[in-house]
């Protein structure tokens, strides 16, 4: 058995998942069990050619043609790889989209974004693919912020303050961003087959516990770095738009809850529109803006 932790969950796996951080002390009752086994993909499946799915109150079943099937239940994920599927590709799907859907079924608000934390709390950066989230995260990490998550930001809104849970200690970077941040990409695994985006281990300064959320930023391209507040109604559009796997919300029946949670978050947490500059040289100015803003948010 292998014991891991991610997103505040204790995870016990029947097979090794090196992408997940190991857990030193094995809990008696893990929050999530991972196992290999057959998954019924014949009964009641619907969906497009690329991804077939079945949703019931008890489970969510997904089938990807080249990877295999995943059955997500209340405290268990069963993996049924397709014959000939790359083990690494199956694991990447498991710790990415599939784990994200599991977190959503557990009631967390999952956003497509990156997160870092200062001493005061966490910040989430939302944006379309290619907006520069990972580059910004790497730059903030180099400046002394703790790394929290890449790609999936899992927020717990059940308590009196919104908190962000730490994800996997890895960061996906394009080669030019990696070079600019002194992280040579050579030899590192690719984030997706056919993409030159590489998965970088984060190493030092990784958050290991949930942090109070201070602010949410939407990241956009632009000529010069700037930061402007977003009204709650505008922030709500961004939170809905940048849901993790937004196109699955309706299919899995999570749309209404995502809406309610996003509305609650937009009311409680300041949101900002962050324009990144056109070049890497402008990164320090952008980082200054964010640091100042987070200091203000912490004093609220």
């Amino acid at each position: 058995m292998h014991d891991y932790t991610a997103y505040g969950l204790s995870i016990r796996s029947h097979f090794p998942v090196p992408e997940l951080p190991p857990l030193e002390t094995a809990p008696a009752h893990p929050d999530l069990r991972l196992r290999m086994g057959p998954v019924d993909v014949e009964t009641g499946m619907s969906g497009r050619e690329q991804t077939a799915f079945r949703v019931t109150d008890e489970h969510l079943c997904l089938r990807f043609p080249d990877l295999g099937a995943f059955l997500i239940e209340a405290d268990r994920i069963t993996v049924d790889p397709a014959s000939g599927a790359s083990t690494e590709a199956v694991r990447l799907m498991l710790v990415g989209s599939v784990l994200g859907l599991f977190l959503r079924r557990r009631g967390l608000l999952t956003l497509h974004g990156n997160a870092v934390a200062s001493r005061d709390g966490a910040a989430v950066f939302l944006g379309a693919s290619g907006a520069g989230k990972s580059t910004l995260t790497a730059a903030l990490h180099r400046r002394g912020f703790r790394f929290m998550s890449d790609d999936v930001a899992a927020l717990d809104l059940s308590g009196p303050v919104a908190t962000l849970r730490p994800g996997l200690p890895r960061l996906k970077l394009w080669p030019d961003a990696a070079e600019a941040l002194d992280r040579p990409p050579g030899g590192l695994p690719r984030a997706h087959p056919g993409l030159d985006k590489r998965i970088h281990p984060v190493g030092a300064r990784v958050a290991t516990r949930a942090r109070r959320l201070l602010a949410v930023y939407t990241l956009e391209p632009g000529r010069a770095p700037s930061l402007a507040p977003l009204a709650p109604a505008d922030a709500l559009v961004e939170l809905i738009r940048h849901a993790h796997l937004p196109r699955s919300l309706r299919i899995t029946g999570d749309e209404a809850r995502h809406f309610e949670q996003s509305a609650a978050l937009a009311r409680r947490i300041p949101a900002r529109r962050l324009v990144r500059g056109a070049s890497f040289d402008q990164l320090p100015r952008l980082l200054d803006l964010i640091e100042d803003d987070l200091r203000h948010a912490a004093r609220r």
């Binding site: 977003l230 559009v237 738009r241 749309e255 809406f259």
Partner: protein
Amino acid sequence: MPPAADALSPEDALLLACARTRLSPRAFESIGRLADRQPDWERLIGAAARHGVLPLLREHLGDLDVVPGPVRETLRRLAARIARHNLMLAGVLLDVLELFGREGLPALPYKGPVLAASVYGNLALRPFADLDVLVHPEDAPRARALLTDHGFRFVPEASGLDEAAAIARGREYRFERDPGVLLEVQWRVVSASDGWRKFSLAPLWARLRETTLARRTVAALGPEDRLAVLSLHGAHNQWVRLKWIVDVAEVVRGEAVGWEALFSNAEAWGIRRPVLLGLALARDLLDAPLPPEVRARLDADRTLPRLAAMVRRRLLTEPCDPPPELPLFLLRLRENRREKLFFAARLAFAPTPKDAARLPAPLGFLAPLLRPFRLVVLLVRRLVRAPKKNRR
């Protein structure tokens, strides 16, 4: 003149009273009185949903004690569903505009989220089923390629026209991304076959303005062009949805309309009467405040009352989309005899995509001949059915 509340059913009176974003103290009191009469709530909610004004109904009735709790709860639930859908579509629209922006493809979102945000002041208050984005005709193929590369599925038209013919004769490409996410990329507001030969979007592109959607700057129509386009769209559907009239009324109430510019453009485009009709409906049904010179223009057109009566009859009775008398309505909208003749000839001989789809491709050239026969068959069928209906 506004319809007297007594002449309307309690449901229609309340529906019209609620169909606006802001209420005067007098209107607020009037709504309270109408609600206190306990109309048929189910019928009212059904009509509001059909007419696209349910969020406005919720806005004005949702906190009134005289409205029964279960009705308020139904209104809240249905309005929340519309709000979710609108916000989701607004996000998709931003994705599309960013994609087109990155590729240097000019795009104008002219209804849906932009209309809701800039005219209603709230994305959740105006239901929209799909997204409409205008592009230049020459950009339509590139827009189609970009969208299909980015997860949108092209929904082909039944006409089977090739790309050049579709752009020359049609008005839009339709795309679907997920269930409930429909996008129409349009290069015309009305089809070439609808007539309005003088109407062109070229001058409209030259005087675009900017607005914000979720703090993003997006291209938008000025109030005069917005009124012209909304009027043409409403007219082509015989204004069967109240929300289209509310759109016009809200532009009139909330935006600084340059009336001279509006009528000068409308004359040049040959759409004076559709514009006048939109304004007349907004004034008569929803009390839209019009300046005296505009009211004088409305009073001077003797055909308008007949057209407005056709709209009202359809609007406040059974839902029917499209109405059977639509061709007659569209004919009466033309002021110029030549335009009327041209429209009648198009109606009789120009094949619709449906006509073209009835023939195998090699016989497509026969479609103009098939069209008059189809119209005769339709007419005979209607004549045969009418007496039966009357007997019932």
